[in-house]
Amino acid sequence: MNRRQLIKALGLGAATLASMPLLQACGQSAQAPAKPAEPSKPTDASKPATGATAAPAKPADASKPTDTKPAAKAAGTPKRGGQFNVVVQNDWVSFDPPFNTAEPNGSNMIFGSWVNWLQDAGGKWGPQPDMIAEWDQKPDALTLKLQKGAKFHDGTPWDAKAAKWNLDRLIFHPSSGLRANMRGIDIAGEDQSALDKLKADPNGAFTFSSKAVEVTDDATVRLRFSAPNAAIISALSGPNAAPVSPEAYNKAGKDAFGRAPVGAGPYRFVEWQSGSHVTLERNPDYWRKGADGQPLPYIDKLQYRLIVDDSVRLLELRSGNAQFTELIQGKDVAGLKNEPSITLVESQASGNNYRVIFDATNPESPFRNLKLRQAMLYALERDAIAKTLGFASGVSRKYLLPKGSLGYDESEKVPFYAYDKAKAEALVKEAVAEDKSLAGPDGRVAFTFSVIDRAVDKAQSEMIKQMGEQVGFAVTLETLERAAWTAKLVKRPGQPGGKFDMASMRNPVTADDPDGQWRAYYHSGGSFNVAHVEDKEWDKLIDDAAATFDVEKRKPLYFDLEKRAFEQAWYSTLWQQNWNWAFTNKLASFVEPVTNRWHFTESWLS
């Protein structure tokens, strides 16, 4: 064979190989799942987590919160000094609380909080005084008595003027992430021209002064409400509400301040190197005192380092380079529990909920049909998903509200979607029989399932795809980066996007007031209502519940919400991974926070 022939032979071979995909494509449709598939064994419903904790503190009438310190694992005498390294998973966007659209990642150590949501001595979760020493909530007014002796890191005092400025910003700034939560405040009589000026220049100094927030004396402010808001204290405990130094903000402007924040918390901001780390140092003038009579905190320096990859974070922790991290994946929890130098704390009250959403308002989506939504939900085997993805830390979920939250009560027998493959198949057949246009030429209902590019979400999507295909759907998986996923789901006036079939998302659930979550994700005005639900009855239930102070009257409203969620099948929670924190044994007095509002004020390194 000479050169020419060799070349020809190679070319022929290459062409044959290149036609493989065609052969494969032909082969695949003819190839039914021929391999024997062991049926997955459904496990028993996992035992409910113990110690589900409380409803939020009842605010009914004048309430002076008990002045108990947050529950802490006392462990000897505190030692001062040292540097504490935390590895975090998500990059920071801005350190200015109301404008931070990303995870707070421990920014609360710079600012403190109006109130901290922590456990009391008895283990009950509720608001604890921080920047506010006392509060008094009546349906038409909220009076806040400020903590005495607190100063911002730039030396300016924490007084009623500063508090009012912060509240005004939370309520009235156009980009404030907390606007929806500050409901019911009497904003009717505000100066419209001043508001317009604010809208025109939102990035400059904030000089708007409202009538709804009043300064009654040097250390007291009063908010006037035109409609009751039972969830306002909970809203103020959130990381997006934290108070900042007005002077520093006005001097620097919105964007620059977000990169060089000034608060009144136990740690001062030192530097933020984008994509790498954030360094905080001890605030020597912090108002709270430790056991030795000196100001808290005990630890000198906090460094938060960004490591996106889960496995690498774990390695850093194990090797001792980092001393704290959270959200260890289910698969690694068992291994970490055996690590002698590391302590793992699993939360009973917080977790990451994984849920699926349908776009019922999309006229081109098969999920405009209720039966198909129900079919998909019946087809999902939540226990299997929870076990496979969460290992021992994954728990399947029936309802939208997390266990332990106000409004969650198993004895109420609110209906939920249990795994029922036969029912799912029947529903699909019924739906297609009624409306032929729902199915494709092969008789299957085709849709696209959009997920965010995260390991667990993607693995979950593979499982869901398979479950859907077993009952008559044809599922196409679409993986998107978070920015692209948001763009696809969220509706904007005059913009493409906002149309999808089915998507999955993950969001933290906490032990604080449920209104925060209902509102953001499920209310028609919510900032993250990606299912585009606009149901008046639904909204009314949420609003009424938020305005009801009496806990016994609030509960049935949330039960009704769950019932409606079941009927309409717009979304469903699949499973929850309990939140966890893993840290070196050297850390003493770990205070369990709400998700990632880490509370290192009272901790020390032994």
Partner: protein, 302 residues
């Protein structure tokens, strides 16, 4: 006329004299030390890809039972199982189809466009040559992976788009090669003679230029296959290449990386497969270079 052709032919003929025996090229190919082994390895992978359905042991896409997830190699699962309990052996065998397909198609795309651009630039010369070469140089200036990443992000993730992306990224490489070969071939006596005789452009291209540039192209094509496979694995590793549940070696490495402590086999084995395939292509490419290059053939060394 005939004499000129004969004289022109004689120059090349002297080269051809050396390899008059029919199996010379093939023999030389095989004589290069590692080529037989490489061919055997490649043959095994091709066999794997073609007969994947016959030799897999379980369904590669649908999981069986979650209780068998993340196991190491055993009798039941030769390469272990992945995070959803799927058999790794079956998945990796089907993955070989993807890898080989991606390699071939992306190199094909790159060659097709690259050679066209390069030959046109080399043959026509002048301003067009300048323009085309500046453009390809500009594409060449960007790191390949970054460009491929941007293109797949633009077109959407997935197998087909990553093939297009890798193909595009490879264009400058083949363009340069084709151009250089065209330039040197263009000046050969017998080509000049053909042009003087008034042969049409397609005839010249087809009969003279292309056959002579075929040799270096094949060599580089073979090496390019290896690079394409690694690039596809890199894209899948970053998450923008092949999407689950389709198995691909790069994708398995990605999940292997995530489950490194639980089940290291998943991180190691796909890498071995990629390594062997690319190694095989490199050896073959090197062997082809020796076999097809007359100069090296004469000296017998490298």
């Amino acid at each position: 006329m005939a004499t000129t052709a004969v004289r022109a032919g004689a120059t090349l003929g002297a080269e051809r004299q050396v390899r008059r025996d029919r199996f010379g090229t093939l023999r030389r190919l095989l004589r290069t030390r590692m080529t037989p082994i490489a061919l055997a390895i490649l043959g095994a992978f091709i066999f794997m890809a073609v007969f994947a359905n016959a030799i897999d042991r379980y369904d590669p896409i649908n999981f069986q039972s979650y209780s068998t997830a993340n196991q190491g190699p055993s009798a039941a699962h030769w390469f272990g199982t992945d995070y959803l309990g799927r058999d790794m052996w079956s998945r990796l065998i089907h993955g070989s189809r993807i890898s080989l397909t991606v390699g071939l198609i992306s190199v094909g795309v790159g060659m097709l466009f690259g050679v066209t651009i390069g030959v046109v630039a080399g043959f026509v010369g002048g301003k067009i040559d300048s323009l085309l070469m500046r453009c390809t140089d500009a594409i060449w200036a960007f790191p390949a992976l970054m460009l491929a990443l941007a293109i797949t992000s633009a077109l959407g993730r997935g197998l087909v788009n990553s093939m297009i992306a890798i193909g595009i990224v490879g264009i400058p490489f083949f363009a340069r090669l084709a151009r250089a070969s065209t330039l040197s071939t263009r000046e050969l006596d017998y080509v000049l003679a053909a042009r003087a005789m008034g042969a049409s452009v397609p005839r010249i291209l087809g009969r003279h230029i292309l056959p002579n540039i075929a040799a270096p192209l094949i060599v580089q094509g073979s090496l390019g296959l290896g690079t394409a496979i690694i690039t596809e694995a890199s894209l899948s590793f970053l998450g923008v290449g092949v999407q689950p549940p389709t198995p691909s070696w790069g994708l398995e490495l990605r999940t292997g990386y995530q489950y490194l402590e639980l089940n290291p086999a998943v991180a190691i084995i796909p890498g071995v497969l990629i390594f062997l395939t690319v190694l095989a292509f490199n050896f073959i490419g090197d062997g082809l270079r020796t076999a097809l290059d007359p100069r090296l053939a004469r000296r017998g060394g490298d």
